[in-house]
Subunit: 151 residues, 2 copies
Amino acid sequence: VLARQIAEPFPAVTADSDALEAARLLAEGRLPGLIVTDADGHPRTVLPGSQVLRFVIPNYVQDDPPLARAYDEATADRLFMTLAGKPVRTLLPRERDREDLPIVDANATVMEVAAVMARMHSPVVAVVDKDDALVGAITVSRLLDLFLPAR
Amino acid sequence: VLARQIAEPFPAVTADSDALEAARLLAEGRLPGLIVTDADGHPRTVLPGSQVLRFVIPNYVQDDPPLARAYDEATADRLFMTLAGKPVRTLLPRERDREDLPIVDANATVMEVAAVMARMHSPVVAVVDKDDALVGAITVSRLLDLFLPAR
C-alpha cells in the first residue's frame, strides 16, 4: 500500500492566507492541523492547531498558564482578533529543513508514512506527487485504522 | 467561561488497558489522542496517536524513514501486532511532572486552557474536578470554535 492510495482530501491554505480564516477551517473541520502550501500549491508544512494558540497567547502566559486567570473575556476575544489580517506564515514555527517536515512522497510505503509521523510527532502528513503538488493527507487515526488487525 | 462548561465526553483508557484496544479507539473515533487514567479513573496523561507509532516503529526507522521501504506488508502487520497484550503504560513517554501534563482544573478559564494547550503543543486537554475525577476533554478545534469572532 502506497501513500497515494490512502491519502484523503484535506483542507490547505497558503502561507499568505488570512490567519483568522485558517483558524476557522481548523475549528469548523475539527481538524488536528492544516496543510500550508506556497503560492503555487506546493505543500510547505503542516500548521497544527496548538500553533495557532502559541501565536495568540502571550509567551509569559504560556510559561505560567494560571496567569491567564487575569484575562477577562473581552481581553481574550481581542487576543484572538489579532489573527485577522495576519498571513498564515506569521503563525508558523521558523523554517526547518525539508527532511524534518511532515510531507511524504505519493510513492512512500505506509510504513514510511508511519515512520515520518512517529519521528515528527505529527497527527497528519501531507502527500505530494513528483511535481511537488498536493495529493492529499493521511492522519494518524486513518493510518492506525488501516494497519490494526481485525478484532 | 470555565473549562467545565465546555468539556465534552472523551474516550479514556487506563494505564493497564490493552494497547491494541487503545489504538483501535484512536482509529475508530478519528481522535487526536486518548486520555489515560489510573485504576481509580484519575487522569494521568494524554496518549497522542503519534506516540503509538513511536512504540511500533523501530527507532532506527524513525531516525531514517526511507529504511521503512524494506518492510513488506506482513512484517508491517507483525509490528502492529506487538501492541496486543501490552499495557498502555508501555506506550507512554516517561513520567513527567504534573505541571507539564495536558490536564486542567474544571474551574480553569478558557484562556488558561488555551495557554496549557499552547505550552504543551497538545491537541487535547483533560478536565478534572477537585477530586481529580475526569470531567471530559477539550480539543484545540473546539476551543478555537468558541473563541473565534463571528464572520
